[in-house]
Amino acid sequence: MMAILLLSSVVVGVFVGRWSSLRLPDWSINVVLYVIVFLVGVDLSKEKVRFDVVKNVLLSVAATVLGTYAGALALSFFSSMKRFEILAVASGFGWYSLSAIIISNLYSAQLGAIAFFSNVMRELYAIVLTPILSRYSKTAVVSIAGATSMDTLLGPISHYTDRETSFLAFAHGFVVTMLVPILVNLFLAFR
């Protein structure tokens, strides 16, 4: 139910942006993001930091990266897209703004647009699936979110799971986010 509400706020935004002249200033998305991340930090401050979490973070980062590439490789056997194109697009891990900008600058505007949408869709998938899958596997929810587990999805993840998973989500998103520019460039170098 919550997923439908979250998704519809995107859809309403698209229609408002398409058919009205309402525009939000460029900084507004970032400011909301800043407030969310700050408040998640505040919310998590009552939790004791535990260092056995490091192993879980590395494990979930490995699951996210290897799982994403396994899926991308499987797709490359029957897609019209070139293999390195699919891998480069998948390397956005949900960070659509950065991956789209890098790819359209270094490669082509079309692949940049694909990077934008596929990574927006990854985020939307995560929004829809987080309330549903959080009952089944908390770490799978974090892996699906990819890089967005430290920003956009941090709110939903901390709402639907526990504080321990929220910690995992932030640390996981942090590591994956830093990998995005490196891995996108790496696969574009394979053309």
Binding site: M2, L6, L7, S9, V10, V12, G13, V14, F15, V16, G17, R18, W19, L24, S28, I29, N30, V32, I36, V37, F38, L39, G41, V42, L44, S45, K46, A63, T64, G67, T68, G71, A74, L75, S79, M81, I86, V89, A90, I114, F117, S118, N119, V120, R122, Y125, A126, I127, S137, A140, I144, G146, T152, G155, P156, H159, F170, F174, T177, M178
Partner: protein, 87 residues
């Protein structure tokens, strides 16, 4: 730059929060409400970009395929890793 600000804010909140009451964040579902706002702003950004809208149809299919396979792979690997690490 964005990344740096996010990390600093997270740790600032983490530090400052020790001296504040924090139960209102969960009580009033503050994080979910702010996420609504964030997604609405994202929607406006997509909808108002004419270039993106005109390419929509030819690109959406490829995007859908890549994201679906990426999600499936991540999910399967995360569940496998979770099972293996618990043994």
């Amino acid at each position: 730059m964005l990344l740096l600000v996010l990390i600093l804010l997270f740790f600032l909140g983490f530090f400052v929060g020790r001296f504040l009451r924090t139960d209102w964040i969960r009580k009033y579902k503050v994080l979910i409400v702010l996420t609504f706002l964030l997604l609405f702003a994202l929607g406006i950004e997509i909808g108002s970009n004419d270039d993106v809208v005109s390419k929509l149809e030819s690109i959406l299919f490829s995007s859908f395929m890549v994201s679906t396979f990426a999600i499936l792979g991540s999910f399967i690997f995360a569940v496998i890793f979770e099972r293996v690490s618990k043994k």
